[in-house]
């Protein structure tokens, strides 16, 4: 897989008028591979939201460089190419919808790019269908639920035909139903269209769905690897970073600490039940032998 985003030794300092700047990101290097699902985990204030805003040139690195496709994000001539390649969804569903009608909002990005009206129409209709919001095309955004608003925002990014979808805690302000709606939508787009996903979150269950995880703490990327491997092997470091394991991984860890050897790396209820099934078979085998 080729890299679509390359982050090289990036630091980012927030400017403060009165005092010394604050380093939110400190010397992070990472890559986003085409077609992968990368989750960035970390507690509030760990620098994860700053990092993701560096990936589409909303913030420009104080040190180091960020490259999207062939373009450095500091290259002003290509900033719109960068933003078209990398779509972004924010945490607050209300504060990213510009228009008073759903379909007009989905069209917003394409209108900015100067796409012809006929093509905008086609792409907007297709994007709304992709997030299953076609029947709300003429609705007013403020009448939608949080989950629906986020899906409209995803449609707005999707209409611009990006390669990468950046999501900054897209489910943090939603109820469990809305959270499911949004995650299922993103999962489907990732699976069916090969959309590259970069998801910032502190919900460990959401990270489980991805290919790779980066854990941030105090502006640094402290851990990196496939989620299951990380949750199994780095439980302590994860807890120290202010996060917690998915409930089943936590249960397996506690049981092992008490001498009950749960087989495999169960992360979900189904996997845990299966692990105990395996344990039972194993013990019966021993009794028989």
């Amino acid at each position: 897989m080729s890299d679509i985003i390359r982050v090289q030794d990036v630091s980012y300092e927030y400017e403060r008028a009165d005092e010394q700047g604050e380093l939110a990101v400190r010397g992070v290097s990472m890559r986003v591979k085409k077609g992968e699902w990368l989750s960035i985990l970390g507690r509030n204030g760990s620098g994860k939201s700053t990092l993701i805003k560096l990936l589409n040139g909303l913030f420009l690195p104080t040190h180091g460089s960020v490259t999207v496709g062939n373009f450095d994000t500091r290259d002003e001539n290509h900033i719109w190419d960068v933003r078209q390649t990398v779509g972004m969804i924010f945490q607050n569903p209300d504060n990213q919808i510009v228009a008073t009608i759903v379909e007009e909002d989905v069209a917003f990005g394409l209108e900015n790019l100067g796409v012809s009206p006929k093509e905008i129409r086609q792409r907007v209709d297709a994007a709304l269908a992709a997030v299953r919001m076609s029947e709300y095309a003429a609705a007013a955004p403020h009448m939608l639920s949080g989950g629906q608003k986020q899906r409209v925002a995803i449609a707005g990014a999707l209409a611009m035909e990006p390669d990468v979808l950046l999501m900054d805690e897209p489910t943090a302000m939603l109820d469990p139903g809305g959270r499911r709606e949004v995650m299922e939508t993103v999962e489907r787009l990732h699976r069916e269209r090969g959309l590259t996903v970069v998801l910032v979150t502190h919900f460990m269950e959401e990270a489980l769905r991805g290919d790779r995880v980066i854990v941030m703490q105090d502006g640094r990327a402290i851990l990196e690897g496939p989620p299951r491997e990380l949750f199994a092997k780095e439980a302590e470091a994860i807890c120290r970073a202010g996060l917690e394991l998915p409930p089943m991984a936590e249960l397996a860890r506690r049981l092992r600490a008490k001498g009950l050897s749960v087989p495999g790396e169960p992360m979900t209820v189904e996997e845990m039940a299966a692990a105990f099934g395996a344990l039972r078979r194993e013990r019966r085998g021993k009794h028989a032998g």
Binding site: N92, V98, A99, F108, G156
Partner: protein
């Protein structure tokens, strides 16, 4: 709940009047206002009333709604009426009592002036009832485009209008929420004299402003992420097209204008 209240007074529908091009409607509204001020004499008022009645009928907006728009300014209408009756001088007195001189001319003038006001309000209401605020903004942006040459920020003004319209329901809801939260902390927004009430607004206004700035900041970032860079090279999904119905509407308006002018000249 606040968010169920429709914005402005737009009354959604699919009538002939609803479907007219908003630009055409805006231009015709200007012509209509001109007519209201040009009209003179019974016949002219009759033409204007007929024009309004036909438009209202075609819009399928109930007369009740149209008249409702007059209610808030009813006082001004009555005031105008009384003022004109009392202070118009004429040669055909009806009643003279002390300083009071009521003349036929006065009555006639008072009726006409009040009618003008009523026509003005009913007509503009018909526009806002049949055209969504967003369509109006859109029409304004396109009609005022030539002003760009004079460096008037037409697109920016329209974008600001759009965003304001988008966030009014959100901010109303937020106002309600903060008000309740502060009430739960013992705040009192309803009693006391003017100064006390003004002071009581601080716990509401500060969080509201802080919230609005946070929203503005986030929205600006979201717009940038979607490649917004002003009105240059921007296209629109919805192309406004003038239809045959717009032609008829222009024709009808022109005919009424002609009749009113004829009456005035003859």
């Amino acid at each position: 709940m606040l968010k169920d209240i429709t914005l402005g007074q737009f009354y959604p529908g699919d009538s002939l009047v609803h479907r007219l091009d908003p630009r055409v409607k805006l231009v015709l509204m200007v012509v209509y206002i001109a007519m209201v001020f040009l009209v003179e004499g019974f016949l002219g008022y009759l033409f204007l009333a007929a024009f309004l009645a036909v438009s209202a009928f075609l819009s399928r907006i109930r007369i009740k709604f149209l008249l409702r728009s007059i209610r808030p300014v009813l006082f001004i209408v009555v005031f105008t009426f009384v003022l004109n009756i009392l202070f118009t001088r004429g040669d055909h007195p009806i009643l003279e009592w002390g300083v009071l001189h009521i003349t036929w001319e006065g009555v006639r003038f008072a009726v006409f002036m009040s009618l003008r006001l009523v026509f003005l309000l009913a007509g503009t209401s018909l526009l806002t009832l049949t055209t969504s605020p967003i369509a109006l903004t859109d029409a304004l942006e396109r009609l005022l485009k030539p002003l760009n040459a004079l460096h008037f920020p037409v697109h920016e003004m329209a974008m600001m209008m759009t965003i304001a319209l988008r966030f009014i329901p959100t901010l109303l809801e937020e106002t309600d929420k903060i008000m309740k939260a502060q009430t739960a902390r013992g705040a009192d927004f309803d009693t006391g004299n003017l100064l006390q009430r003004a002071k009581a607004m601080v716990p509401l206004l500060v969080p509201l402003f802080v919230g609005a700035f946070r929203r503005a900041d986030e929205l600006a970032m979201a717009m940038e992420a979607r490649c917004y860079h002003g009105g240059r090279h921007r296209t629109r999904m919805k192309v406004l097209r003038v239809s045959r119905a717009d032609g008829w509407a222009c024709g009808a308006t022109a005919a009424t204008l002609l009749l009113i002018l004829l009456e005035r000249l003859l």
